[in-house]
């Protein structure tokens, strides 16, 4: 975990004159599961979009695996798996067809999406269209799509939304396994502190447009993380390790 897989330096982004991110700096080492905490509207989704090259920064740089998210956008997208905002699919296609299409777009037609479907708890989603899926099934399918092309980095925006408690636990364990076994770096935003405490190696609190506190989660309970989060919102910037 010594080389930064995800980095943001002095990142700023405004929308209609309102500054959402202000001098935001973040460094996530390779193989780390990093949890992003913050209030609603703190800029978590904006940060993830900037890292994926879907938005342009007003100032500063965002990079993934040493590549610039804007300049090297296509190279970044090839090595990153994203789940940002509400998952979008081709509604008239089945789950498997959606995944096969994703593989084709990634230039990996030969890969079988079956293992990933099983991995996220959708072993037999059937031939029916995705439009008939529940919110939880859509979320699982979106996670399957994000990990399908074996990305080195995962950018996940509230991936546990709509999942039942078992699903949340399984997804958390899965992300941890991906990081430990394949060295995948994961940046995920979530409001589910108990799951974050279990899943993430490290968490950062985004407040006032920048990361104000970061800490390792080792030995931190859900209650402890909640306290840490609330004190970070009140207290502002402190040192890098809690």
């Amino acid at each position: 975990m010594n080389q930064a897989a995800i980095s943001a330096k002095g990142l700023c982004r405004s929308f209609a004159g309102k500054e959402v991110l202000r001098d935001c700096t973040l460094s996530v080492p390779r193989g780390c599961v990093y949890g992003l905490l913050g209030r609603n509207g703190a800029g978590k989704t904006t940060l993830l979009k900037l890292l994926a090259g879907l938005l342009r920064p007003t100032a500063g740089t965002a990079g993934v695996l040493g590549l610039d998210s804007i300049r090297d956008r296509e190279a970044v997208l090839r090595r990153v798996g994203c789940l940002i905002e509400t998952p979008v699919f081709y509604e008239h296609l089945s789950a498997e067809e959606n995944l096969r299409l994703h593989l084709a777009c990634m230039g990996m037609e030969e890969r079988d999406p079956g293992p990933e479907l099983a991995l996220v708890g959708l072993p037999a989603p059937g031939e029916g269209p995705v439009s008939a899926f529940s919110l939880g099934m859509r979320q699982r399918l979106a996670v399957a799509r994000a990990i399908l092309h074996r990305p080195e980095v995962l950018l996940l925006d509230e991936p546990m939304n709509g999942l039942d408690p078992v699903g949340m636990r399984e997804l958390g364990a899965q992300l941890r396994r991906l990081s430990e076994e394949r060295g995948v770096t994961v940046l995920l935003s979530s409001h589910l502190l108990s799951e974050l405490a279990r899943t993430a190696h490290r968490v950062g609190v985004l407040e006032g447009g920048r990361i104000v506190r970061e800490t390792d989660t080792a030995g931190l309970s859900a209650g402890g993380l909640e306290e840490y989060f609330l004190s970070a919102l009140k207290g502002g910037i402190s040192d890098g390790n809690g």
């Binding site: 879907l54 296509e74 997208l77 090839r78 905002e85 699919f89 299409l101 084709a104 777009c105 990634m106």
Partner: protein
């Protein structure tokens, strides 16, 4: 990724079946319209205006203009569905999350949304005219003489009008993307088709008007294409 592969992928993403059916229905309607127009001088020989329909040139020109209006709206609907909707809201997030050139993806979408109606108009138009010419050769409704030149000219003008439908659809797509609005694209297509048909109907007996209309349509269509490429390149989601 090559354009051929991108087109194949785009065709997997979309459902063309409803458009195949709609194009077929338009072809059948065109055939029925042709026979109806051809029969008018027989039904009401006293009507001086109906005498115009006694000429193949006029009869086919008029029918093709109606076909142009229908397929321009068809192109507007397809571009609204595949281009404007594709780049609006959350759909764009999906499109932009693939490591493929944005410009290429847009060109592929436009190719499908605009070449399809142009090709459908030409093919169904050729089929409808083919059936009409065949029955005219056996049991003529129109008093005019059917010659090889008439058939050839009808095909040539149908091809020009099919391309014009695609160009007008491209302009409608540009307007729709500008407003990020599906109704804008469809209503623009409707208005553009009215405008084009109005202008071309006045010039119906003047054969070179078709080529000139094609050239005149190509200029704003090229501008619309340039605008859309720039929009998509700079688009944020």
């Amino acid at each position: 990724m090559g354009m051929g592969k991108l087109i194949a992928l785009e065709l997997r993403r979309i459902r063309l079946r409803p458009y195949h059916l709609a194009a077929g229905a338009c072809g059948a309607a065109m055939l029925a319209f042709l026979y109806l127009m051809a029969a008018i001088p027989r039904m009401d020989p006293a009507d001086g205006g109906a005498a115009l329909l006694a000429s193949y040139d006029f009869l086919l020109g008029l029918t093709q203009l109606v076909f142009l209006a229908v397929f321009t709206v068809f192109a507007g609907v397809m571009s609204a569905r595949f281009v404007v909707e594709g780049y609006s809201g959350t759909q764009a997030l999906l499109l932009f999350s693939y490591p493929v050139s944005r410009r290429k993806v847009l060109l592929v979408k436009l190719a499908v949304a605009l070449l399809y109606p142009a090709a459908a108009m030409f093919l169904w138009g050729t089929a409808a005219q083919g059936v009409f010419f065949l029955t005219e050769a056996l049991l003529p409704l129109c008093p005019d003489t059917l010659t090889a030149g008439t058939v050839l000219w009808s095909l040539c003008s149908l091809l020009c009008r099919s391309l014009l439908a695609g160009l007008l659809g491209l302009m409608a797509a540009g307007l729709g993307l500008w407003r990020r609005s599906i109704p804008t694209a469809i209503i623009s297509a409707l208005l553009l088709s009215c405008l084009a048909c109005q202008g071309l109907s006045a010039l119906l007996p003047f054969r070179p008007a078709m080529g000139l209309a094609l050239i005149a349509g190509a200029v704003p269509a090229a501008w619309a294409l340039r605008y859309m490429i720039r929009q998509v390149d700079e688009m944020e989601v």
